[in-house]
Every structure is written in structure tokens, then in C-alpha cells.
């Protein structure tokens, strides 16, 4: 006997209770602290902040804990919190040229003013499981001296190339030009580079990685060189209306990547190197490199290149880069679709009935 399904409400409550238990896991193991996540899962925290578009390590750590380590879910939590915040000021553009650099490398020059600074990188590590980390009783030595002082002045590689006009100039927008905000306004095509970069900055790392990679495999190749990658802390300034001059409200860690790309020139532009740009919160090197590849690919039209790959197609990239959007829509397939499915059932049944009718007719007449 069929009874209409009731009790969705209790089922949901029970499921949430079960989820809370699963999140906590084995209660004999000590509960994970926000401080631990924040200080030992820093790259996860950075990714959640970058794609969550909110710089707050504590909240990102909380989101990771609540999401049981599912970073896309954590990004979603942070976004849903961000959307409730009111905006009280626009910051001045950050100056990555005066960054407190922790890492800075260039693949285009062997040495350059300021030097190559490896910093805390996985590069050149051998990916061997370090079983000594299994021992959690080990007492960590306190960090020693800071090591050598880094030079204050670290000019950007692109500004070195700038001097002989070998690379295209970047022209800042006019002071009073309002920057669009993709979190407040719907996308409008064709877009400008500012909205594209905003979209890429919060875009899914995996998606951008695949799209960037595709340009390296022939789907819109643009011969990139890693001009410079730098990571470190920059100051954030705002100009309060009643003061009229900039004040520093804090520091944020960012990673920046400037790609230098070959460009053979077109009917409108002389041969010159062009740029692809990537920037994200925290230590997000893979992300910003992929972002810079895609940024450059998306400039195809502007530079008069033929669009051959998805990475060069702005509607394709910008509509599919956001993991909160895509994760939601892919997973909405879990929601009931009985009504639509009933419509399809009815139609397919009718089509089948007609089909078998036709078949019989064909058999009778012996025709085709």
C-alpha cells in the first residue's frame, strides 16, 4: 500500500545529526582545533580564502573544519558568509612591487636585481613520504635566526623588459574609472579584463589548471615564460572619506604570477612580448600560474589571434570557472525530478507505441 512520503523534515534533522557525528569522527582522538588548521593546513586555508573571496584565516579554518576537509564545501560556506557582509570601503590597489617577499623566482633570467628567492616551496623536494612525521611526540626545535636579509628593492621582471619596449605596457585605469565587481553585478559580454581577472581569481583551481594546461597542449597555445612569481605580504590601504589620505588597515599574503608570452604581431600591433597575469590570496602558486595562462589565452580577441580552444573563449571560461556554481548545479541532479521524468515517460511510451504500430504496418505491407 502506497503512503505518500511524509516526514522529510525529520529525515533532514536526523541526517544533519549523523553528519555532525561523522564530522567529529572517533571521539577518542582529540578534536581538531581552528588554530591547528590555521597554522598547519595553511595551503588549504589559502585556497579557501582565495576561492571564497574573503581574507580571513580563522573563518576559512572554521569552514574547513565544518566541511570535514571538503574544500569546495568550505569555499561555499565562506562565500555564503561573505555575501552577508556590508562593504564599507574600497581599498587602494595593492602594490606587489613593495611586497615583503618570501619567495620570488624568475624563469627568464638567471639572475636579476634582488636575486632568486626560493622560499618555502615543494619544488625540488623528493616526493617521498616522510615517516618521521608519524611520530607526533617529537619536540620541534624553535626556529633559528631568520637568515639573510632580503634586499628591499625587488623590481619586477616585466618592468626590466618594459625599459626597452620589448613588452606591452600595462596602462592603469583612469583614477575615477569604477572597477566592476563580479560579485555584485551579473556578467555582461563582452567583458573587460578586470572582470575576467576577478572571475579567474575566485575560479576553481582544478578548472583553471586544466584550462591553462590545454593551452600548453595546442588548444590556443601562446608560448608562455614564467617571467616572475612572487609571494609575500602586502599592505592594504583605504582612504577614509573624512580623512582624505590613505591609511594602512592590515597586511595580506598574496601570490602573483606574471607570464611573458610570445606575440608575433598583428596588423594592429608590432611584434612584442605580451602578458598574462595571475594573483590570489595566500600561497597559491599553482593557481596563479594557471590563472595567468588562462588570462593570456582570453586576450586572444583583443590581440587578433584566432580562437581555437575553450581557454580562449570568454563565455566558456567565465560561465564554468566557479566551483560553487558548478558544484551546486551538478549536484542539483540529486533533487527529485519526478514531474519532468513523468513527462518524458509519457512521451517515450507514446513514441514507442507509434513505433511498434509502424513496425507492424511495415511487416504487413512488406515495404520499407
Amino acid at each position: 500500500m502506497y503512503v505518500a512520503v511524509k516526514g522529510g523534515e525529520r529525515a533532514i534533522e536526523n541526517a544533519h545529526q549523523y553528519l555532525a557525528e561523522e564530522r567529529r569522527g572517533d571521539v577518542t582522538a582529540r578534536e581538531l582545533s581552528i588554530a591547528q588548521i590555521k597554522s598547519q593546513m595553511t595551503l588549504a586555508v589559502d585556497r579557501v580564502m582565495a576561492e571564497g573571496s574573503l581574507y580571513d584565516q580563522d573563518l576559512a579554518a572554521l569552514a574547513i573544519k565544518q566541511a570535514r576537509g571538503d574544500l569546495i564545501e568550505a569555499i561555499f560556506l565562506l562565500r555564503a558568509f561573505r555575501t552577508t557582509l556590508s562593504r564599507f570601503a574600497m581599498t587602494q590597489p595593492i602594490d606587489t612591487g613593495s611586497m615583503q617577499v618570501k619567495r620570488r623566482i624568475s624563469a627568464t633570467y638567471k639572475d636579476l636585481p634582488g636575486g632568486q628567492v626560493l622560499g618555502p616551496t615543494f619544488d625540488y623536494t623528493h616526493r617521498l613520504l616522510d615517516f618521521s612525521l608519524l611520530d607526533e611526540t617529537k619536540i620541534e626545535p624553535l626556529p633559528g635566526d631568520e637568515g639573510c636579509e632580503l634586499p628591499e628593492n625587488m623590481p619586477r621582471v616585466t618592468s626590466i623588459l618594459n625599459r626597452d619596449d620589448m613588452i606591452e605596457q600595462e596602462h592603469p585605469d583612469a583614477e575615477d574609472d569604477a572597477v566592476s565587481d563580479i560579485t555584485r553585478e551579473p556578467l555582461d559580454f563582452p567583458t573587460d579584463r578586470a572582470s575576467r581577472l576577478q572571475n579567474l581569481a575566485r575560479g576553481d583551481e582544478g578548472f583553471l589548471l586544466a584550462m591553462g594546461y590545454s593551452t600548453q597542449r595546442g588548444y590556443g597555445n601562446n608560448h608562455p615564460f614564467a617571467g616572475e612569481i612572487r609571494m609575500g605580504e602586502v599592505e592594504v590601504e583605504i582612504i577614509p572619506e573624512d580623512l582624505g589620505f590613505p591609511i594602512i588597515i592590515g597586511e595580506i599574503a598574496v601570490t602573483e604570477c606574471e607570464l611573458i608570452n610570445q606575440f608575433k604581431g598583428s596588423s594592429v600591433k608590432p611584434p612584442q612580448f605580451t602578458r598574462g597575469y595571475g594573483l590570489a590570496f595566500g600561497h597559491s602558486e599553482r593557481k596563479v600560474m594557471a590563472m595567468a595562462l588562462v588570462d593570456r589565452a582570453l586576450r586572444a580577441k583583443e590581440l587578433g589571434e584566432t580562437v581555437v580552444g575553450p581557454a580562449q573563449d570568454e563565455e566558456f571560461i567565465m560561465y564554468h570557472s566557479d566551483n560553487v556554481e558548478s558544484s551546486g548545479f551538478v549536484q542539483h541532479l540529486k533533487l527529485p525530478h519526478y514531474v519532468d521524468f513523468q513527462g518524458e515517460l509519457e512521451m517515450v511510451r507514446n513514441l514507442r507505441a507509434e513505433h511498434s504500430g509502424k513496425e507492424q504496418e511495415v511487416r504487413k505491407t512488406g515495404g520499407v
Binding site: 523534515e9 555564503a80 556590508s86 563565455e315 533533487l335 519526478y338 519532468d340 513523468q342 513527462g343 515517460l345
Partner: protein
């Protein structure tokens, strides 16, 4: 359930954002069937699960409203429960399962069987607002096609259906023309519900959160489902009646009862079905419900 969530604005969204959404809604009402881009916000529910409808509801809901939320016609499907709880928590407004009692009805995939009135607002959750999307993937192109009212492509598609299948092979999200001007996606409601949109006394609002579009059909507006003179628009029909309330006019869901594939058909609109049973209409597998 009655305790209202602390620390968030009434209906979750801040007032400035609500104003922005209301402006988009007013524009949408002024140009029936036209998709108005709006600054869709992140909601605490996932995209594709009704964020557009939620934002529209949050922008129009007031303290005295009575809210009904349905999914597949039913009030007790999990997502409808979840959205109804969300508004109960963030607004404290009264919720209901009764179509006649509601001032706002947020829906996914159905229009209630009962005729709606001028005091009610229907709010549809929309996954893909662009009716031409499957024929043309580019937004730049489709906007141009709407601007020029160039809908030949859709007619060709429907014609191809007829030449291939002998009928128009679209059973839900069946395209409509609003006010003789804009081609519009009615959202994935079954085509069975399309005629209800025509000349409906209540305001119909459509929200697509992920795609950042709002559109509307003002009360008493002409809505026609596309068809051809020799292939007129038709709605779904069943040989069976509802097994619970014996209705012969409602949209039926098919329920598989056992491993042998035995089936029964029941009203997809649960409130309608219950109401009928209270009025004494009992189907072969239904039980009488006490009158109110």
C-alpha cells in the same frame, strides 16, 4: 522552528541587495518575458537548488506573508522542506501547505492545480532561463536574437521534432511566447502546466540565481505555448485517475509499488489531492480524510 535566526537580516539578504533585486523585478514586470540581468548573490543554499527563487522570495516577502514552498508539486519533498525552513528561520513568517492560504508560493517544477488569485505571487525557481540555450550556447547571440525577436531557430527545432517523431518532443520547460513578444522558458514545469500561465490572475516571478536573471509575467498576461496550426499544442493525458483521490484532471506521478513493476498513479500536487479527499473524493487506494 519558531526561533528566528539571530545575527542575520530579515529574510537573510541585506536591504540594499533587496532593493537591487526589487528594481530588477519591476523592470521584469514592465517588460513581460524579458530576462533582466541582476547581481545575484551567494545564498547559503547551493546553486541549482533554488537560489534564484529564494532571492526573489526574500526580496518580496514581508512579515504578514504566508509562504508555501513546493517541489515537484509536493510540500514535503526534502528541498521544499529545506527552503521553507530557511524562510521560517530567517523571517519567522507563517508557512502553510495550503495553496488557498498562501500569499507567496515558491515552486520548483509545478504550478498548483488550484486556480490562483490576484493576491498571490508565484515564484519559480529557474535552472536555465534562456529558452534558446540548447540551440545557441552563446549569450551574446541569444540576447541579439531576443532583441530582434528572431525565434525562427526555435520553430525549426519544433518542426524537426515533428518530422522526426511526428510530434513536438518536449514534455517540460516547453517554450512560451509572452505578450506576443518575448520567447520565455517557463522553467521545467511539465507542459501540462503551461496553459495555467496564460492570463493568470497572480503575478508570476522567475528567479535564476546561478545564471543571474530575473523575469516576470504580470497578472492577466497572454502566454502562448509555441505550436503549429496543423500540430496544435497538447498537454499530457493519463488513462488512469489518481489512485488516492480519483482526480481525472490533475498531473499524475507514477509510483512503482513492487519489484514486479506494478504501478499506481497519484496527484503530484499533494495539497490538491488531500483537499479532494477531505471533500470525499476517494480513489481505489485512497483513504478518507476528515473534513476540516
Amino acid at each position: 522552528m519558531n526561533d528566528v535566526q539571530q545575527g542575520y537580516n530579515f529574510a537573510y539578504i541585506d536591504e540594499q541587495t533587496k532593493r537591487m533585486i526589487r528594481r530588477a523585478i519591476i523592470k521584469a514586470i514592465a517588460i513581460p518575458g524579458y530576462q533582466v540581468p541582476f547581481g545575484s548573490r551567494e545564498m547559503p543554499l547551493p546553486y541549482g537548488w533554488g537560489t534564484g527563487g529564494i532571492q526573489v522570495t526574500a526580496s518580496v516577502i514581508g512579515k504578514n506573508d504566508i509562504l508555501k514552498v513546493i517541489d515537484q508539486g509536493a510540500d514535503d519533498t526534502t528541498n521544499a522542506v529545506s527552503i521553507r525552513r530557511f524562510f521560517a528561520r530567517t523571517t519567522g513568517v507563517k508557512t502553510t501547505e495550503k495553496t488557498s492560504e498562501a500569499s507567496l508560493i515558491q515552486t520548483r517544477h509545478r504550478i498548483p492545480e488550484q486556480r490562483l488569485n490576484e493576491k498571490q505571487i508565484m515564484i519559480y525557481q529557474v535552472p536555465i532561463p534562456e529558452p534558446l540555450r540548447w540551440l545557441e550556447a552563446r549569450e551574446k547571440q541569444t540576447r541579439k536574437m531576443h532583441a530582434l525577436a528572431e525565434y525562427g531557430l526555435m520553430h525549426v527545432k519544433l518542426y524537426e521534432d515533428i518530422s522526426r517523431f511526428g510530434r513536438i518532443a518536449t514534455s517540460y520547460d516547453y517554450p512560451v511566447l509572452v505578450n506576443d513578444r518575448y520567447l520565455m522558458a517557463p522553467s521545467p514545469i511539465p507542459k501540462f502546466d503551461n496553459p495555467k500561465m496564460d492570463n493568470m490572475p497572480s503575478l508570476q516571478l522567475f528567479g535564476a540565481g546561478r545564471e543571474k536573471r530575473i523575469y516576470a509575467i504580470p497578472p492577466y498576461t497572454k502566454v502562448t505555448s509555441l505550436d503549429f496550426e496543423d500540430h496544435p499544442f497538447e498537454i499530457q493525458q493519463w488513462e488512469e485517475n489518481c489512485a488516492l483521490c480519483s482526480s481525472e484532471k490533475s498531473y499524475l506521478d507514477e509510483v512503482v509499488m513492487n519489484d514486479e513493476g506494478e504501478r499506481m498513479f497519484v496527484c503530484s500536487d499533494t495539497d490538491y489531492c488531500e483537499k479532494r479527499r477531505r471533500q470525499g473524493h476517494i480513489g481505489p487506494m485512497g483513504t478518507a480524510l476528515a473534513a476540516e
